[in-house]
Amino acid sequence: MDQQVATPASSAIIRSAVDDPKVTSKDVCVFYGEKQALFDVNLDVPRNAVTALIGPSGCGKSTYLRCINRMNDTIPIARVTGEIKIDGQDIYDPDLDVVELRARVGMVFQKPNPFPKSIFDNIAYGPRIHGLVRDKTDLDELVSESLERAGLWNEVKDRLHEPGTGLSGGQQQRLCIARAIATKPDVILMDEPCSALDPIATAKVEELMLELRQNYTIMIVTHSMAQAQRVADKTAFFHIGYMVEYGDTKQIFEDPQDKRTQDYIFGRFG
């Protein structure tokens, strides 16, 4: 098995071609200081679909996800090479404004992280920063629309001015999704969005993902293979910094080709 670990990039198994991809990665490498965390990742992410990233802990899933909204820029020692394009536009182009990029690529984190502000102000945070609304009525509308899309409107419409931190964990996570939607992104990145939630809250968030996929391109890191099978159209398997195998979710789970993918999926390690 140890010999297989050093598989060169070109040997990543790509099972199905994606035409008109939303996000394309070419030879993406990430270094934390001297240490390389990601090796030559090539991946085409389809638009208006859910793509799951799976693999054992520490294999670089989060690292890859954070390349796509350039969140790794906030880590001083992190360095990214290679090319990532969204709708054909190079997002590491020095002329590109990272603030604009992050408005277009929303992110939802592992632990719900609502700001210690009211529910309303949590949602209004992004639109206000980016000047997306002209007046109060616009803002009210955007807030209610975002909450509705996140399936939270009915639960919070009477308490918009209470603190967002007072919601339950599952509600908080949907609030964070609504907050991301409010800046009108077209890609949403989710890093283990359900790992801090109970099964019922998880089911709600999954339902939400399936609904959002009609209008958004969603990339989700998950440790739950059942979840990947329930929500994802495509699945990519990562292993110690390499993207090993990528294809339709059904193919990956029913008929994995690479030995490492098989071992992981059939529960032999990780």
Partner: protein
Amino acid sequence: MSTWLITVGLLAAAAAAYLLSLFKARATVKGEVSKLHSRLGYYGSYAAIWTILPALLITFIWTAAEPQVIRSLVEKDLPQSVQSQPDALKSLALGRIASVAEGLPKLSEDEFKVVEKARLGFAPMTDAQNILQEKGVVLGSTPEPYVISAGYDQVIYKQNSRWMITGIAALLAVLGFAYSYFSIRPRLKARNTVENVVLGTLIAASTVAILTTVGIVFSVLFETIHFFSEVPPAEFFFGTVWDPRFTSVGRELSGAEGQFGLIPLLWGTLFISFVALLVAVPIGLFAAIYMSEYAGPKLRGFAKPVLEILAGIPTIVYGLFALVTFGPFLRDTGDLIGLDIAASSVLTAGIVMGIMIIPFVSSLSDDIISSVPQALREGSYGLGATKSETIKKVVLPAALPGIVGAVMLAASRAIGETMIVVLAAGIAANLTLNPFEPVTTITVKIVSQLTGDLEFNSPQTLVAFALGLTLFAITLVLNIYALYIVRKYREQYD
């Protein structure tokens, strides 16, 4: 033997008891120490504690009580004429007796015999007087015979007392050792006893700390009540004039009453603290933001301790700086631009005090800002906010309650601060809005009411306790509230 010698002796005894019990404990299980309830060392400690603790406790208690007991014994034997004197004269007589008692042990054996004979009536008292005077013991111009007898008695009492306590300590040590030594069995729960003693010691230590605080508060409280029996509380708390009129000899005759209005002092205190916060809060907060959000780890590791050193400078040094350098500088600058700034003024004291409390604000705020979870920052970046937007709209609002707590802690430091204001605020109790004029503060007046040679029974000095208690109440409330806020803030992110 002196208490010190007894202690050393007991320590030696305890060490011996430790070793003996160790051997015995080992012998009871024939070397198979795993059969013992506790580890071997605990049996040693068990015996050592029994040997030393009761004896030492009795010794210390007796040492504390000894002077009182001897004094009352000596006093009881004094002639009726002395006993009926007023307290002041009586304590003078006791003082002279004590100096004789101190002189006696310095005599040679022969000389002491002479004094002994005089005391017992076999020789004239004048012999004893002469000997004592030769040795330089001051007896006064007409030494009464009872002084020497009483002094002699005191020495003898002291000697007897020492023999007694040495004997008692030795006896207790032996009994304690015997009890523990013979109770050593494999099933003896030596560890539990030892741990209880350790626990008891810890409890005793914290009790002492708490009782001391309570004691201080009560003693101040009683003096304050004493003060309020002479000056009505309403006059103190709501009076706007501070004019305590020291009862110098002339004034006492004129019968002028002092006025003890707290308001001007409180005003001065709050005014100066306000100026101090005006200086310290922006500087401290900006420094904290820079250090927690922008500075690299290297710079932070260097700058933070340096800033905290500011807090370690003795406040008298700040006071000197204010008095000698900064006050005159402000005055001269004022002259240049046509402002009339006194060298000792609200501004001088306030600014220098502000510099002093910068580290309190910055260090605590820095901790608090750093404890805002990284997840909140990332959430904000993820929505496309820049670093400064994130700090302004997410980090600072999240940290605000904690920062308010930090500022209030700094404020209570400022209110209780003494040396800077003593040197740089002035002593005139002005009720003014002009920051260029001198004012005075509660702490300054406490100092000035108590400096000098004064009896602690006039309102002029007792007022210091009322002031102290007021100050204590203000800072206590501020501190409790600040700590409450900071704690609540911490809980929010745990």
